[in-house]
């Protein structure tokens, strides 16, 4: 085996940020070195993800970590679905990092002034290592071909996110952090329980092997395992009955942290649901119907919550919950077109929701508050900011020709084609949710950007370029998704096709036939497994 193959790229999105995290922690006294390392690591891992996205288009890439073949060792698998998630999350993580750098180093102002305006400056020394660990955890969750390694990635991500959420340890953040930490702990305990039971039922935790063995398990046990996993991921993805923690805990964090959480963490939950529903438990009508009901409730109740809010950050948190419903809708349709639409929607939503939270951070910087009652007249005071808000806001509501519209059209078309009563209810619900989203953000727009500016808002405050440019870049990325929507949608369709089929995934992991990896020691391990 030559040293450098295309597979060499696969572990990079996990390794680079993790190594960089160690470096930045060791170099915590040198803030500038930290910044350079963080940006370089994330840029490199994003570049690797983009390369992976093209490489994975011709078939999944598999790396056996430590050169132990798959069922014994842990493997990382980059298929189309993983690669596209990695790419969009990489771009987003990079933009948010740059934004947070801009927030940390304001131009032409002393730090106290900023602190009094924004209320929270990020302690950079802790922020960088934690942020990089978060990036590594997310990448590990996306790439893992092993259920337990996936759990580890999940935990890395959650532990880092808990630290980020409680940065500074102010009263408000400790309150929000407690809720968040307890809920996430509960979800990971459920996940671990599910892993234990799956291992007891099948004797393996390798995803490819599971997809071969699970169909032989008793259907009732299968259903229990599936529901337990969906429960764990549903908490993380914040689908309706399990979503109450999200608007409680996200808005108090610093703007870049909220942006990352909103854009990424819930989507990891959605990705895991997508992976489980396609690879491990395909074709279970009962669960699909449950998911449809859940999707409908998530959409409607989330958006009704958003309408009631008078704080922009909370309003956006509720729209976040609501739009998770669209993705679950796509998953619940359990068809290639539905899954493709869900994948496209996830990609669109990551970029748009993050961009909106970043822009709201700028609004807070400019207007001194995120409460709609205290903002006003920003369209006149900061026209550039108004544009930055308006574009992703319309994109979120799904105004043609933006990417949100395209994703929704995909979902609605497939819902109509499905034709069942529930699917029609969801089609109607989706349209109603889109209209209510438009109502909610137009309300925010009217109150924050129109009307006479309240006297507290200073007329001339230059926005730091370091914050505006990354936010603008992410808004631009959202527009780029619209421009390349054709090829991207095609990619999502191929990803969905491969996921629904599952054979290419299994063949890539076990090239020498099912149940057998490339190593020598396989036979022993299979015998050692606790097979029931």
């Amino acid at each position: 085996m030559t040293l450098w193959t295309v597979e060499t790229l696969v572990p990079l999105p996990v390794m680079l940020p993790l190594f960089a995290a160690g470096l930045t922690l060791a170099l915590h006294r040198f803030a500038n070195v930290q910044r350079i390392i963080s940006v370089a690591a994330l840029a490199a891992s994003t570049a690797a993800s983009v390369a992976l996205m093209f490489a994975a288009d011709s078939g999944p890439l598999v790396v056996d970590v430590g050169d132990w073949a798959a069922p014994v060792g842990i493997d990382l698998v980059a298929d189309r679905l993983s690669a596209v998630m990695l790419t969009v999350s990489g771009v987003m993580l990079l933009c948010v990092l740059l934004y947070s750098l801009g927030q940390g180093v304001p131009e032409g102002e002393d730090e106290d002034a900023v602190q009094s305006r924004v209320g929270d400056r990020i302690p950079v020394a802790i922020f960088h290592p934690t942020y990089l660990v978060l990036a590594a955890g997310v990448a590990n969750a996306f790439l893992s071909g092993d259920l337990f390694n996936l759990y580890v990635g999940f935990e890395i991500m959650l532990a880092a996110s808990s630290v980020l959420l409680t940065l500074g340890g102010t009263a408000e953040r400790i309150r929000a952090g407690s809720v968040y930490v307890i809920v996430t702990l509960l979800s990971s305990l459920l996940f671990l329980t599910a892993i234990a039971l799956i291992y007891a039922a099948t004797g393996t935790v390798n995803l490819a092997q599971l997809s071969l063995r699970l169909p032989d398990v008793d259907p009732t046990v299968q259903l229990a395992l599936q529901l337990l996993l969906l429960l764990a991921f549903g908490i993380k993805a914040a689908v309706f009955p399990l979503s109450a923690w999200l608007p409680d805990s996200y808005p108090t964090a610093p703007a870049p942290v909220t942006a990352v959480f909103a854009g990424l963490l819930t989507k990891v939950g959605v990705y895991l649901m997508l992976r489980m529903q396609t690879l491990l438990f395909p074709h279970n009508d009962l669960v699909d119907q449950i998911l449809m009901v859940v999707a409908l409730l998530t959409m409607l109740i989330g958006i009704l919550g958003a309408v009631a809010q008078s704080d922009v950050k909370r309003l956006l948190s509720f729209t976040l919950v609501s739009h998770i419903g669209f993705m679950v809708f796509g998953i619940a349709l359990a068809s290639e077109a539905g899954t493709a639409a869900a994948i496209f929607y996830v990609v669109h939503h990551i970029s748009v929701q993050t961009a909106l939270f970043l822009v709201v951070g700028l609004v807070e910087y400019r207007g001194g508050s995120t409460s709609l009652d205290r903002l006003g007249g920003l369209a006149k005071l900061a026209p550039g900011l108004a544009v930055l808000f308006f574009v992703p806001a319309l994109n979120l509501a799904g105004i043609p020709p933006l990417s949100g519209f395209l994703g929704k059209v995909g979902l609605l078309t497939e819902g109509v084609r499905d034709g069942s009563g529930l699917a029609w209810a969801l089609v109607v619900g989706s349209v109603a949710t889109s209209l209510l989203t438009l109502y909610a953000i137009v309300k925010a727009w009217n109150k924050a950007f129109w009307q006479a500016p309240p006297p507290e808002i200073e007329p001339h405050v230059p926005l730091p370029r370091g914050m505006v440019l990354p936010a603008g870049a992410l808004v631009g990325f959202g527009l780029l998704l619209t421009v390349v929507a054709g090829p991207l949608y095609g990619y999502a369709e191929r990803a969905a096709e491969a996921s629904m089929d599952g054979r290419s995934y299994v063949e890539a992991v076990f090239p020498d036939g099912a149940e057998r990896g490339r190593g020598e020691s396989v036979e022993v391990a299979v015998e050692g497994g606790g097979h029931g």
Partner: protein
């Protein structure tokens, strides 16, 4: 393929059940330290569950150690339990730190309610008289007003300039008073 005899021991299963039950009970409490204890208990319950999933104990899992062919214990389950113990330890440390910080700030470590959430609920109570339930005949409070009861320290700590002490913006206060007088 040889299959290990893996009927789980009843003692382990019972222990798992007890750990889960007590853990869930503690998780439902408000103080963080109790939640933490609940988390640790369930965490250990799950660890035992993984161990049970690995089947009965056998000879040590080293290839070639026991050529006689006695079935080996499952090393994977042990590896997974080890990993999960480490993760539980790290998260325990984090929650302890958070509980300590909460105690520093407020003198206790109870998980508080969300202020903004309560504020929205209170506004709803002011704006629309909600339907009366059975309790309301006794306490005179509607469901929404009950929901608006704040259990929170943050609201007391913060000085909200434009709100009076129960956190309602001034312009809404007048309307609320009118309603209260109507009720009387």
């Amino acid at each position: 393929m040889t299959v290990l005899e893996n009927t789980p021991s009843a003692v382990l299963v019972l222990a798992i059940g007890v750990l889960f039950a007590t853990g869930v009970y503690l998780l439902l409490e408000r103080p963080l330290t109790r939640v933490l204890l609940g988390f640790i208990l369930i965490g250990n319950g799950v660890n035992l569950l993984i161990l049970v999933a690995g089947g009965r104990a056998g000879s040590s899992p080293i290839v070639g150690n026991d050529p006689a062919g006695e079935p080996m214990s499952d090393p994977l389950a042990q590896a997974m339990v080890l990993t999960s113990i480490v993760i539980t330890l790290a998260l325990t440390a984090f929650i302890l730190a958070m509980a300590y910080r909460s105690w520093q700030l407020h003198g206790h470590d109870e998980v508080a309610d969300d202020v903004e959430d309560r504020r929205v609920a209170r506004q709803a109570a002011v704006n629309a008289p909600a339907f009366e339930d059975a309790d309301a005949t006794e306490t005179g409070a509607s469901l929404d007003e009950e929901a608006a009861e704040v259990h929170d320290d943050v609201a007391d700590d913060d000085d909200h300039a434009d709100r009076n002490d129960d956190g309602i913006p001034d312009r809404l206060q007048g309307r609320r008073r009118e309603r209260k007088e109507d009720d009387r």
